[in-house]
Amino acid sequence: MTLQMRAPAPSAALHESPSMTSPAAPLVRFRDVRKNFGALAVLKGIDLDVAPGEVVALIGRSGSGKSTALRCVNGLEKVDGGELTVCGRALHSGTVDLRELRQDVGIVFQSYNLFPHLTAEQNVTLAPRKVKRIGKGEARDLAAEVLAQVGLADKAQSYPEQLSGGQQQRVAIARSLAMHPKLILFDEVTSALDPELTGEVLKVIERLARGGMTMMLVTHEMAFARSVAHAVVFMHQGKVWESGKGEMLAHPQTVELRQFVGNGL
């Protein structure tokens, strides 16, 4: 994959809206996926597809299994049953090279998890340099490109502690982008931020969505899920309880979703 593919204004042909077409192969495919923590069943048979270019929001109460489902996608959690295919790799087989998978699947965490001893630029380029073995000059160009994508071109030489929470989270997003992933996972990335900083992070994610990036987000931002996500998945007690387009949040079919959005909005 070349650098140009993730440039801010991709050609329409590359990233057609998935709702318009029906793509042959989904990037992520859950089939009856199960996951237990000891005796506790966290995922009780999940079915879910994410098409290339699609933005899927996972919502639900704490403990509904949405974060666990997300963490299964990049192999941070192993699935105990069912089939999970990500970027053509059968994660349930247990023979997948996780390092290869993670070059295709980025993740952004609630607590940013930037490397505190490295500058923004070094945070962004560490993995491309060590994993993809790109040169110094190329790394600098790459850092400039992805930091500009998140609006932080002028912060390349700043250390995480010199940045606000919102800026740190945007650097974390840039760090994921620098690997040119096919898919980025967002695990409650705005939950540690105040409303103002939440806005600047969501704006970056929205821009990525418009640029055609495939994304799965666990989020509590209902308005954002409704306006940006192509599909919303409501999880409850380890199952996909209800799913559909963003409008489903305005017209919940189940009592549980009605109660959830009632509390949430």
Partner: protein
């Protein structure tokens, strides 16, 4: 001067020189032993943790002078005649290695687990994660307690007097035996020890402050 001849004072300083040599041996040997101990103590492997734990507990449970005796006479029983410097060096290595290993284990574990996870999610190998993500953060934490422990190493080399290693304490004992001026002689020895240790303590607390300033 102070009732001592220049030669006698020079003799004390020669002893001080060997104190520094033994301290350096202890620190270098302790580092070579302490690093693998720290890695084993903080590793995922239960076996590595247990084995290194035994070493640490044994060394920490035995007084240093006794370790010196055991090493010195233990090697001679095997039929080898070792110089006191070698025996003292081995004993200091064991002592410093066990303590530095524990100190550095704490520094490695003090780096949040989420840092490992972040490195893992960027497709770094476990060695790359340790070298580029964990180690630099652990080193920063490790500098103040390590420099602080150097002071302990210097002071504890004085136990090598039990196996007649010619260090500052031993030379002070010899001069005292010929001059019968214990207060003068041991005060000079004390001042020399202090002159070696105090700058290191200062350095340690300066590193400490820098660390907390961020």
């Amino acid at each position: 001067m102070l009732g001592l001849t220049i030669e006698q004072i020079a003799y004390l300083f020669r002893g001080a020189g060997w104190t520094i040599v033994l301290s350096l041996l202890g620190f270098v040997g302790g580092t070579l032993l302490g690093l693998p101990v720290a890695l084993a103590r903080s590793s995922q492997s239960r076996l590595a943790r247990a084995l290194s734990g035994v070493l640490v507990q044994v060394v920490q449970g035995i007084p240093l002078p006794v370790i010196m005796f055991v090493v010195y006479f233990g090697i001679s029983i095997g039929g080898f005649d070792v110089p006191a410097l070698v025996a003292a060096g081995v004993a200091m290595t064991l002592y410093a290695g066990a303590y530095l290993g524990e100190i550095w284990k704490g520094c490695i574990l003090a780096v949040p687990r989420t840092q490992w996870e972040a490195g893992e999610c960027l497709a770094l190998t476990s060695t790359q994660r340790f070298v580029f993500v964990i180690l630099p953060q652990a080193l920063r934490i490790a500098v103040p307690p390590t420099v602080g422990f150097l002071v302990q190493i210097v002071k504890n080399t004085s136990y090598s007097v039990v196996i007649n290693f010619f260090d500052l304490t031993y030379s002070a004992k010899v001069i005292n035996n010929s001059t019968f001026r214990p207060f003068t002689v041991f005060t000079i020895a004390a001042l020399i020890y202090f002159a070696i240790c105090f700058p290191m303590s200062l350095l340690a607390s300066r590193f400490e402050r820098r660390l907390h300033r961020g």
